[in-house]
Every structure is written in structure tokens, then in C-alpha cells.
Symmetry: C2
Subunit: 241 residues, 2 copies
DNA sequence: AGATTTATGTGTGATAGCGAACAGACGCAA
DNA sequence: TTGCGTCTGTTCGCTATCACACATAAATCT
């Protein structure tokens, strides 16, 4: 099951708002371009802005020791960076790295806090999103504990695909390795296996998915689980399993 | 560094309240005894009660597949079960299992939601606790991905010690194995190593810590990290590192 | 006292992933 | 064209952990 997304021209968290609320919010945003590999913040940093990706992807990395990092969350146009402001804490829990260039809405943290007071629907939506994030962070981190690299790679590629909304995108094996918390060689092996099965093709960072169903079959159940959580909590009207 | 706890006769999350607020809340609680291995809820269950442990310990388990479970959070008298109600979602994100028998305060979810409206300090305190939980869940899950069993076991024992507030407690290797997401044999090995180093003694579930400093030295940095997060967010006045 | 359950210890082989080092291959730029 | 940086592929020995099976020992029950 692919992630069912409500049609939204910009960011799915802004869907469900009334036209008035939406227009009002848009005056508070500025649109910027995030650049690949930019570090938006490190864990513990004060939060200056919140980000609502339109085409970009932001990866949340949990850092343990040197060379022990793990991607625990991925933010595309289904989510936002900075939702922990809802809890009245203005420091970032994780490092945030740009994984895919693209247009992004940005709003100062103070403005965001103020806007939350103005729209109950908006606040409600974002509280639910924070709940989803919590669930998915743990699911992803646990997944990396138990599942083998090939499953996790498939899972990761599907999550990227959903967010760039395209069958082909650019991502190096080195970058995938960092997200999965494994050596690059491990990704090389897993990617080769997926290529042999004609599921993907991969050349110098240019990745193309040929067989969506095959890739979902190769991935662990965590992909499904995460999507179901998102749909169940944020869009229960679409949830009919 | 051991977890610095504000002195509180019952539960640390109730510290910081005014006497009036505190007394008011206490009329809404009932005190119950949680029984070892009781499953309070499974992931996805509706939340009927929130729990504030006094002497008990509740472990939060994330379930992947059969036989693939991981403890992601531990709740003693420094925390509570059910804080995700703050996000307006009334389903439990994780399975909650009683790891240590003992007195516990309990309040119906509806009452809890109502009480949050009555005390800004209380709500603020719990929002911060939820932020801490989020950080720690991810930290624990990531820890289990990267660190070796012996480090993780040391870490786990310290966390239990802090919550029972005693150098000796009862816990079987089987139970530790489930929390760590490893085979019992793995725990046997790690525990044996700790015994040889005279750090603990262990016999048929009766565990005693002899060397606190030694145990902290054996544990991974995650123990420290988690404690620092707790202190920094919830009790910044005690945070002077 | 004997039987049963619970808790811990041991042993053997398999394997996923690690660390390190190196080799080719493509692309851009001087 | 030459060179250099980036990206991918390959190999080798090593280790933590796994799965499975069995052995011992203490506690509890009859």
C-alpha cells in the first residue's frame, strides 16, 4: 500500500484548513530553497524556524558516537520540521539534514507559536503529526535494530520515492549508508541484489525504481506500518483497512 | 552522574505544583498496585487511564514481528504512562508491561484531560516530559542498534536501579533479554562478565549492584545522555554541566 | 523426599555485518 | 588530454550475535 495523500498543492499538513486560515498562514511563510546536505540544525540547537517542505526532503539523524548515526525520520511534503515546539521546548531533539533540494516553506518559530493560538484546526493537525512522528521515529530506529540491510534499503527507497513523488531520483550509496547507519559497502551489496532482481537500476547516484510492487515486497513491514500510522492518525476518513 | 531527582514523596512530575494544585490532583487519583508482567495496554489500544508510578516500573515495548520486541522506554516515579493524551490522540503508541510491582497512582483519561485545563504548570510539566520521552525513546532504540550487549545491559540495570532506588532488585535474565531484544543466552554471557568484574552479583533473579561507578563505566554513554536530557528539559535549575 | 518448575550455564556451527584496503569507472575541469 | 574527485564494486579476515540443543541447579509444590 502506497501512502494515500490528500491532494494538496503545497504541504499536506496545510490541508484541512479553511480557505481563510490557509490564506492567512501563507502570508506568514517565506518560500526558500534548501540545499543538499545543508545542516539545518544539530541536536540541542535552539529552533529558529519551522519548515514545511514542498519538494524538499529533510532527514532527521540521531547521533550516538562518531560514525554512529541513524536516520530516524524523514520529512517531505507530508510533514514538517519543528513540531516539537508544540511541547513548549525550543531546542531541536535531532540533527536535521537536507536530503533533497527543493522549495520549502519557512516561518519563524515565534510566528509559528503565535499562529498555533489562532487556529485550533491547525494546532490539532500538528499535534497529531507529532504523535505520528513519535511513533515513526521509534519504528524506524527499532527497524534498524532487527531487519537486514536489504529490507531496510528497500524501505528507505520507498520512503524517498513517496516524498519526491517520482520513480527516479538522485542519491548516492554513501548517503544511503549514512541514513541506514551501515557501511557504504553494505549498501553496494544490497543495491546490487535489488538490481539483479530488476527492481531498480542504479548508476552513479541516479536511481530509478522499475518495479514498485517488487520493492514493496522486498521491504520490511515497517514501511506499511508507518504509512498506516500516518493515515490512521491524520486522515482517519481515508483509513479503511 | 546519577539522575538528580527533586525530592518528591510520590512522583516527580507532581513536584513543582503548588500545594493547592497538588492536593486537588490527589483527590482525582486512586492508588493501585501494579502486578508483575501485567500488560497495561498494547500498541493501538484506547487509553483508559494514565499512570503515575510511585514504586512501580512500567516498560514500553515496541513490537515489530514475533520475537522482535524492544524496550524503548521505562517509566518509574520520574515519569508517567499516557502522556501522549496531550497530543489529542487517545490510542497508545506502545505496549506497556509492568516490570516491577508497586504502588501507582491512576486517573481516568477523561479526568486527566480535564485536569490539564486546570493547571498550566501541570500541563507545561507534562509537555516537557513528553519531549523527554520522545528523545529517550529514540536514543534507546538507536542504542540497541549500535552498542554491544554488555554495554546495553549495564545501561539497563542502571535505569532500573534509579527507578527502584535500591542497589538490589529482582529481575530474571529472560526478562532482561526481552527488554534488550536479544536471546537470554546473550544476557547470561554479559551478566557473567559483569559478575567476574565484581560489579554485580546475580542469582536466580536476585540482582545486586556492588560497584555503581564500575557499572556506569561499563555502560554506554546513552545512560548519561538520557539523564542529561531529563534534567535539562524538566529541571533546568539543576542543570549545571 | 521426590517431582516439577523456574532460572541459569555451556557448547557448536552459522551468518550478517564490520573494518580496512584497493581497483575500476565515470565526469568535470584545467 | 590529462588529471583529479566522485562513485561504485570486490575481497579478506574478524566479531558479535544468532539458532538450536542440552545440562545443571535452585526453588516450589505434593
Amino acid at each position: 500500500m502506497q501512502l494515500k495523500q490528500r491532494i494538496s498543492p503545497v504541504n499536506n499538513l496545510l490541508a484541512g484548513l479553511t480557505e481563510v486560515e490557509y490564506q492567512r498562514l501563507m502570508t506568514k511563510f517565506e518560500t526558500i530553497d534548501l540545499k543538499l546536505n545543508d545542516v539545518i540544525c544539530n541536536a540541542g540547537d535552539p529552533i529558529h524556524y519551522v519548515y514545511f517542505p514542498i519538494k524538499s526532503i529533510i532527514a532527521l539523524m540521531n547521533h550516538l558516537d562518531a560514525d554512529k548515526n541513524l536516520e530516524v525520520g524523514m520529512i517531505g511534503n507530508e510533514g514538517m520540521l519543528g513540531s516539537t515546539l508544540l511541547l513548549g521546548v525550543n531546542t531541536a531533539p535531532f540533527r536535521a539534514v537536507v536530503q533533497n533540494t527543493g522549495a520549502t516553506l519557512r516561518m519563524p518559530a515565534a510566528t509559528f507559536n503565535h499562529e498555533l493560538q489562532q487556529s485550533l484546526v491547525f494546532e490539532q493537525q500538528l499535534k497529531r503529526y507529532l504523535y505520528i512522528s513519535l511513533s515513526q521515529f521509534v519504528q524506524n530506529a527499532t527497524c534498524n535494530r532487527f531487519h537486514v540491510i536489504e529490507e531496510r534499503l528497500a524501505c528507505l527507497l520507498l520512503r524517498i520515492r513517496d516524498r519526491v513523488q517520482s520513480q527516479s531520483f538522485h542519491v548516492t550509496q554513501e548517503s544511503l549508508a549514512q541514513m541506514l547507519g551501515v557501511r557504504r559497502v553494505g549498501v553496494t551489496m544490497a543495491a546490487k541484489a535489488l538490481q539483479h532482481k530488476k527492481i531498480i537500476s542504479y548508476s552513479r547516484g541516479n536511481l530509478k525504481i522499475h518495479d514498485n510492487a517488487g520493492l514493496e515486497a522486498m521491504s520490511c513491514s515497517c514501511y506499511q506500518t508507518n504509512n498506516e500510522t500516518y493515515t490512521r492518525i491524520l486522515m482517519p476518513e481515508l483509513f479503511n483497512t
